[in-house]
């Protein structure tokens, strides 16, 4: 019987940097966190190494900001789960039906219930919802939202983006100047290098991630 350790070692070897974390969660259970782009590569690797590989099912969790896809496989008496997390703005799931035909129905069920678009699925029609079911109303899909309640969102957004929860408006900067004060106090946001440092801390700790901050758009991913 193949051991849990052998499975994780093999996948680490095959996936390299595409594997984020692999661990034995309990007896005969292996959890493998992979980059979402490496899903097919991981399935291929499992098929190549384990001829008796059996696809069990796909479960999906809507975390508010992200979808977590869990592809469960049976490998020689063990359950191996490939976990991949995708931002909901992406809203796609790459089909593995050409590799695993048994994934056909469950992928369509996930698409129906969560409103995820299937990529390269041979039959992307509704499975359990009616043909005229509205695209914007899916039974298990939550709104795109992070952990913060609405009133706390501007505070977190301002803190992460500017290092200050109450940025000084242009009007107030002018008023400060008229009053003989510098336009702004020597806050981190007044210096580019210092801001890089502050943003580094926001990234190194979990604050920006937990708040759901989009570094490219410089705002929270949700309103």
């Amino acid at each position: 019987m193949v051991s849990e350790n052998e499975i994780t070692t093999y996948l680490r070897q095959e996936l390299g940097e595409d594997l984020i974390k692999a661990s034995k969660t309990r007896e005969r259970r292996v959890s493998v966190r992979i980059k979402p782009t490496a899903l097919r590569k991981a399935v291929n690797a499992l098929q190549k190494q384990y001829p008796t590989l059996r696809f069990m099912t796909l479960s999906t969790v809507d975390h508010g900001l992200d979808f977590e896809f869990l592809h469960h496989f049976h490998v020689d008496g063990a359950v191996v789960t490939l976990r991949s997390v995708k931002p909901k703005e992406d809203n796609t799931l790459e089909s593995i039906v050409d590799l695993i035909p048994a994934a056909n129905f469950i992928e369509r069920e996930v698409a129906d219930l969560f409103g995820v678009k299937l990529v390269n699925h041979p039959q992307p029609q509704h499975l359990i919802l009616t043909k005229d079911w509205p695209d914007d109303k899916r039974p298990l899909r939550r709104p795109l939202e992070g952990e913060l309640p609405p009133q706390a969102r501007p505070v977190a957004e301002a803190l992460i983006s500017t290092s200050c929860v109450a940025p000084i408006s242009a009007f107030m900067q002018k008023k400060r100047e008229e009053a003989g004060l510098p336009r702004t106090p020597p806050f981190a946001f007044t210096d580019e290098k210092t801001m890089e440092e502050f943003h580094g801390i926001m990234k190194d700790t979990n604050l920006a991630k937990k708040a759901g901050y989009d570094w490219k758009k410089k705002r929270l991913r949700y309103k």
């Binding site: 952990e147 913060l148 309640p149 009133q151 706390a152 505070v155 977190a156 803190l159 290092s163 200050c164 929860v165 109450a166 000084i168 107030m172 008023k175 400060r176 008229e178 009053a179 003989g180 004060l181 106090p185 020597p186 806050f187 981190a188 210096d191 210092t194 440092e197 502050f198 580094g200 801390i201 926001m202 190194d204 700790t205 979990n206 604050l207 937990k210 708040a211």
Partner: protein, 278 residues
């Protein structure tokens, strides 16, 4: 920072009493004590420790004008001084940016610095224009925070005594210790305004106060903006909300026009002009 007149008044007061202060270059939000702490404790600690490390680099202690900043910095300082594992984890992040905190900085509220470092007598000497008004005090919840000792009224009593030095008469309104509602604004606006601020305003008015004196800019914002927002609920109050530093500056003879009190959202300037005309 959002109410520059408090900064102006503080600088004028420090100058008059001979307290040398240095702005902390590159500092960030303390960080604010509600959202960041609940969201991620490590981020809260590291961000705050970065500010403490900046003060340590300068070889200075840290004084704050804001009660919220005071609480965050005092609490994180306590954690970092007494929990070696948290200090190690915090420094692990700070070291990536060439910084380190060793726990040498003392965090003090401006009220403490005035009372303990400068002293009542030196401040009294500067009072040339006693302010003949009746005021209600709002200490602000975070001013009760005592990192060492159990006397939570230590700093509020200092604030009381410092306010008396300005010549103001303090009226009791029985709800001094009630929160102004600023933190709960982030969760429930109506609760914050009606179950917190409004109760205070009603009692302050009934006690016959001409103004409310505060030490915390965040509480000041809640009192000032809150009075405007309460109009939506059919309630009208327009009580001047003056910072203790502004009151001290006025009593030191600083003209109201030099303090830019017009930047307040409550009639502080009108109150100051009225007192000047007395």
């Amino acid at each position: 920072m959002r109410i520059p007149s408090i900064e102006i008044a503080s600088r004028k007061v420090f100058e008059k009493i001979g307290l040398e202060t240095v702005d902390l270059p590159g500092y960030s939000c303390c960080p604010e004590p509600v959202v960041s702490r609940l969201l991620d404790k490590t981020a809260w600690l590291v961000t705050s420790a970065r500010n403490l490390a900046l003060a340590e680099e300068l070889g200075s202690d840290l004084m704050t004008l804001c009660n919220g900043c005071y609480e965050t910095l005092v609490e994180t300082n306590e954690v970092l001084k007494h929990d070696p594992e948290e200090l190690r984890k915090t420094n692990e992040v700070l070291k990536r940016y060439g910084k380190q905190y060793t726990g040498k900085v003392k965090v003090k509220h401006a009220v403490e610095v005035l009372y303990e470092e400068i002293g009542v007598d030196r401040i009294k000497q500067q009072v040339v224009k006693p302010q003949k008004i009746r005021v209600a005090l709002h200490y602000g919840c975070h001013l009760y925070r005592e990192p060492e000792g159990e006397d939570i009224m230590r700093k509020p009593n200092m604030m009381k005594e410092l306010t008396r030095l300005t010549g103001a008469e303090i009226v009791d309104y029985r709800l001094e210790r009630l929160c102004c509602g600023y933190p709960s604004m982030q969760a429930d606006e109506e609760f914050s305004l009606k179950q917190r601020l409004l109760l205070k305003l009603r009692h302050i008015k009934e006690a016959g106060a001409d103004a409310v004196v505060l030490t915390c800019p965040a509480c000041t914002i809640q009192f000032e903006i809150g009075q405007v927002m309460l109009k939506r609920y059919g309630v009208q109050y327009n009580i001047p909300c003056i910072n203790m530093m502004e009151l001290l500056a006025l009593s030191f003879g600083v003209p109201s026009k030099d303090l830019h009190l017009e930047l307040h959202k409550s009639p502080v300037l009108r109150l100051a002009q009225k007192m000047e005309a007395m």
